[in-house]
């Protein structure tokens, strides 16, 4: 199912040709800002959930949250490199508004899986729209890292860690 959805968008007319340079600010900054918002949501999810975790799950969440912060910092830098100023992060409560209540480890890891899937889908949606090969490569490297997070989180819940050959964030 996932692969058929991917192939539906596969035609030689799509515009994703490589352009040299840092990118096109008018085209790329709104896309980068959108995925920066997704990263900030992930950071807020881990911040909210960490207090409910112990042991291995806590260690894992801390590590993944740190990598989410690195993604956000990189995206902010890319926006600055394009000559624009990234919007400042909103208070954590803003991003946490839509989250379910978290009673235990299962709730936290399930939320983390949801936010990782959302991030992967956002990156896959953004990738063909970015104007340079360099930006696409960076976005793909982050999406791949999010997919790795997803596997570790699924494994922590004793679910199949890699259930699909194509990782689309729709799982």
């Amino acid at each position: 199912m996932a692969s058929s959805l991917l192939f539906a968008g596969c035609s030689p007319d799509n515009d994703a040709g490589e352009r040299q340079g840092k990118g096109d600010p008018d085209r790329d900054v709104p896309i980068l800002a959108l995925i920066l918002d997704v990263e900030r949501t992930s950071i807020a999810a881990y911040a909210l959930g960490i207090s409910r975790l112990r042991g291995d799950a806590l260690d894992l969440a801390r590590e993944l949250a740190d990598q989410e912060r690195q993604h956000a910092e990189r995206l902010e830098r890319l926006i600055k490199d394009l000559g624009r100023t990234p919007h400042p992060a909103k208070p954590a409560e803003h991003y946490q508004r839509g989250f379910p209540s978290l009673a235990d480890e299962l709730d936290v890891l399930t939320l983390a899986i949801d936010v990782e899937n959302t991030a992967i889908a956002a990156y896959l949606d953004a990738l063909p729209k970015l104007s340079t090969g360099s930006l696409r490569a960076t976005a793909a490297a982050i999406a791949t890292n999010e997919a790795q997070h997803l596997s570790l989180l699924r494994d922590a819940l004793d679910r199949p860690a890699v259930p699909d050959a194509f990782v689309t964030g729709e799982g």
Binding site: A2, S3, L6, F7, A8, G9, C10, S11, P12, N14, D15, A16, G17, E18, K22, E63, L64, D66, Q67, E68, Q70, H71, R74, R77, L78, D81, I120, Y123, L124, L127, P128, K129, G133, S134, L135, R136, A137, T138, A139, A140, A141, I142, A143, T144, N145, E146, A147, Q148, H149, L150, S151, L152, D155, A161, V162, D164, A165, F166, V167, T168
Partner: protein, 196 residues
């Protein structure tokens, strides 16, 4: 290796050398087992500006991965390693079939899978060698798609390539874990050489 693409000077020659080096490392590991040395051909393909050549390289790479995992399944008695290799080999075959199908839609014959005689020679791997081989090949696969992101023209292929790269990244993380290494040592997974 971090995907530090915002560095002001990105040198295409250096990137090409890195791509060839990472895929050659995978090829060297494969060659030690008697596997066909096709990964350098995939490295050349990914640096081309032709979607068709990149697709062809992807099919070759995925065939190589599927054959490698098939050999590991036959070689190992470790149930966990066998389970990982079985699942990852099936994924690689799905990738190969998908990219071959796109080539056929474009009326281009996809490359054939490697000959089984070469694969049979890989059946004497120790479990440790098998995991290292798989880590090298998965790192090379991630790097292939990472480099492909720069050169693919078709937006649909960009998306499929990224979904495939993400899957190889997941394989890589679990294999590193199986080798008692840090599963996700970097926030920017660009593949290449296996890291400890």
């Amino acid at each position: 290796m971090n995907a530090d693409d915002s560095a002001p000077r990105s040198d295409r020659k250096t990137r090409r050398e890195l791509a060839v080096r990472s895929l050659t490392l995978g090829a060297a590991a494969a060659g030690a087992t008697g596997m066909p040395l096709i990964l350098p051909l995939a490295a050349a393909a990914v640096e081309s500006k032709s979607d068709t050549r990149i697709l062809t390289g992807a099919v070759m790479l995925e065939h190589q991965a599927a054959a490698t995992y098939d050999a590991i399944v036959k070689a190992t008695r470790d149930a966990r390693l066998s389970g990982l290799a079985h699942a990852f080999g099936a994924h690689a075959q799905e990738h190969a079939d998908a990219f071959a199908s796109i080539l056929l839609q474009r009326e281009i014959a996809p490359p054939p899978p490697p000959r089984s005689a070469a694969i049979k020679r890989a059946n004497r791997l120790s479990d440790g060698a098998a995991i290292e081989l798989a880590i090298s090949l998965e790192g090379a696969a991630v790097r292939f798609y990472y480099d492909a992101m720069r050169n693919i023209e078709d937006g649909g292929l960009v998306k499929i390539g990224a979904a495939t790269m993400a899957n190889h990244g997941q394989h890589l993380a679990l294999l590193r874990g199986a080798a008692n290494r840090e599963p996700v040592p970097t926030a920017f997974e660009a593949g290449g050489r296996a890291r400890s």
